[in-house]
Amino acid sequence: MNTSMKRLLVPAVLVVAVLILPRLVTSNYWMDLINLSISFAVACLGLNIVLGYAGQLSLAQAAFWGVGAYSSAILTTQFGLPVWAGMFAAFFVAAFFGILLGIPTLKLSGHYLAMATIGFGIILQLILVNAIWLTKGSDGITKIPSPWIGSFELKAPGDFYYVAAVSLILFTWGAINLKDSRVGRAFMAIRENEMAAGTSGVDTTYYKIMAFALSAGYAGFGGWLFAHSCSHYISPDTFSFDQSVILLVMAVLGGNGSAIGSIVGATLLTMLPEMLRFLKDSYMMFYAAGIVVIMIFMPSGIAGLVKSMPVGLRLRIWWNADSTAARQVAAAASILKSPDAALPATFSACLGSNQVLLTVKGLAKYFGGLRAVDGVDMEVRRGEIQALIGPNGSGKTTILNMLSGLYIPTAGEITLEGTSITRQKPHIITAHGVARTFQNIRLFGELSVLDNVLIGQHGRSKASLAASIFQPASQRAEEAAMRTKAMEVLEFVGLRGKEFSQANSLPYGRQRMLELARALVSDPQLLLLDEPAAGLNAAETEALVELLFQICDRGITILLVEHDMSLVMNVSDHITVLNFGKKIAEGSAEEVEHNQEVIDAYLGREVSNA
């Protein structure tokens, strides 16, 4: 089956299914439940964005759901706004509250974040109860109108269903689009490794707030669907913490990170209690037990289970073959086949221009009483390979962390090409052309090799949130260019053919290469490498040396921290030696090798087999 047919067939089947569902379900009661499921599903899709994509646990989703419901209900009942306009109000007011939640919780993670979101949700619910002049307090708002199309009121559940179904499809489409886009990848980068996301050029603050806002907006829209269907009545107790937990269970049960999973989870948990009603008094117990059983046997949710089944796997391969990503990768690969198109060797920039690229003056970092780095001066000249060596704990990694913006120096100045980058955030420094790798590899482990390298280009690409969701031609062109470049760099480090492998499934040495690729793809002027040869054997180290020279030939300056002297002494044009946070020696490999202080503190003498 060819691509266009496949891409048409699935939506066609979907449309037919949506159209005939109200004909199959004749009971208003069940139709109401379906509408309720859809309302939950949209809120869950939002939770899936903040939790599944961006990895931030939010337990305030029901409160945003309520904010959406109330915004539209108040505007339509008290101010006579049309229901269709209430839809936008629901989305944007909730998104605004999402931003309010996002800002104070930026410094929190894990259970602290979860607790803060619980508190936020409770505050919102209290406002709904107590701002009686606006919300009518615990009495709730009654007689919320239905939407109209011309002179036809969509009051019957079977009619409102079409509004809900179309919304669900659009919001699902948006969530799925987002997953494979610049913004979606930034979210996932934050989830996988926030530190590496920052040094790859992602403004983690901005994108975390964006994830909260978007997630709240989805919930708000779900609230709009809820307010204008079913009972046409809302009251604060619906939007409680308990409901937030249920939404969380829906998202996790369906499959964290999967949009379709969220819908399945929401539908299942809305329908299941109703189906179990025949059990009379004990139905809630069976419902809870059912959830526990599902979580035990499907730890990655229903979506995870389907994915791991042979049928699910085949389905994915069928759907992903000829996907945009696959086609763009294939196109990039075919360009690379001609050897001339391989990377240009711009040797001119290599081997020292005597031009200073990076200046470090009096750099210091204290951790409490510990002086990890204590007043270091150094210079890195453009086109050189410079090494920073010293005993364990002498402050090498701390310097790299300050250079890449992960640590704020206690004192001192860092200047790149005359511009001070001393107290800049990691993504700003990356934009200035400084990229790095980490001592303990920090890849976006659950993402594909290709996605890792695409995230490395974050700072060099533009697609906004809207472009990431709606994917206009300009966004698709940018994606294609990014993929071509990603393929070039993967070819360069020898990872061609692995682009769709999961990053943490690669062997250790390959993971190091991938990290290098992710750094290179951001077009750095200065590449900071923290122990690139750690865990590589002699043959792999030799290959790395070859690669370092090639990187240098492309005009990229390298500052590396490394303990493998066979590497350091052979590649470095200049070596700086640290001990206890201070510089103890500096010079060429030959000079440093024979410096007595360096031998005593660091190099030692080889053991013999006595």
């Binding site: 364990n392 001592q439 054997n537 002699a538 043959a539 030692g604 087999n609």
Partner: protein
């Protein structure tokens, strides 16, 4: 002392080791070498019971331990210094070391204290960090702590997975000196290393793995002299020097 016969292990859908047989005798240092992905760490994880062999047999001191759980294997006298340190970051250095003594249920406090003193003799650097939390140590110090935790178990067999990873040359020499020392004191050692030359300098015998199989097994001295080994694992760094020469001459030609 330790014997593996035709052991096969799967890592998810990938068969990481495909029938490995090796043996370690009492009092030896045996080196396990090979490229990344050759199956060294998987072998270690299979011996310690973290992964289960799907085929083959593992014997320790005449006892079949193939099906045993990791904690039981630790108790009968196999300790492990895992790759990548894996110390307990939120606990103090002291607590990390004391946790290492978990399998020693019968030993007196005095014995444990003696071993602690011995540890701080070997790694005096850590003396002043006794009450520091694990994460506050530098990479090299963490590695020393991981070795120390392994030692504290008082086990008869110590498996070490890349103990020299990320250490300064002087510390690498120190670690290898310590390995020799603890071996002399009676602990048998199975050592996984990327630094093949250093490992073979202190080992009695070596096994070289390639794509999940034992490709070479010989005495350390023979392996050190083996041409194939020199080319692949010992690294004469001929290429590196050559590349550097090329780069130099290019620069001068400019």
């Amino acid at each position: 002392m330790l014997k593996l016969e035709g052991v096969e292990t799967w890592y998810g859908a990938i068969q990481a080791i495909k029938g490995i047989s090796l043996d370690v005798s009492q009092g030896e240092i045996v080196a396990l070498l090979g490229a990344n992905g050759a199956g060294k760490s998987t072998t270690i994880k299979t011996i310690t019971g973290l992964l289960k062999a799907t085929k083959g047999r593992i014997e320790f001191m005449g006892k079949d331990i193939t099906e045993m759980e990791a904690e039981d294997i630790a108790e009968i006298g196999i300790a492990c210094v895992p790759e990548g340190r894996h110390i307990f970051p939120g606990l103090t250095v002291m607590d990390n070391l004391l946790l290492g003594t978990t399998p020693r249920k019968r030993d007196s406090k005095g014995d444990i204290q003696k071993d602690l003193d011995h540890f701080f003799e070997i790694f005096p650097q850590l003396q002043e960090f006794k009450e520091s939390l694990g994460w506050q140590l530098s990479g090299g110090q963490q590695q020393m702590l991981a070795i120390g935790r392994g030692l504290m178990s008082g086990s008869k067999l110590l498996l070490m997975d890349e103990p020299s990873l990320g250490l300064a040359p002087i510390m690498v020499q120190e670690v290898f000196r310590v390995i020799k020392e603890i071996n002399k004191a009676g602990t048998t050692i199975l050592l996984v290393e990327q630094n093949a030359r250093m490992a073979l300098l202190i080992a009695n015998r070596g096994f070289v793995l390639e794509t999940g199989k034992v490709m070479l097994a010989d005495t350390a001295a023979n392996l050190l002299a083996n041409e194939e080994m020199k080319a692949h694992y010992l690294g004469a760094h001929a290429h590196v020097k050559e590349a550097r020469q090329r780069r130099r001459s290019k620069a001068e030609g400019r």
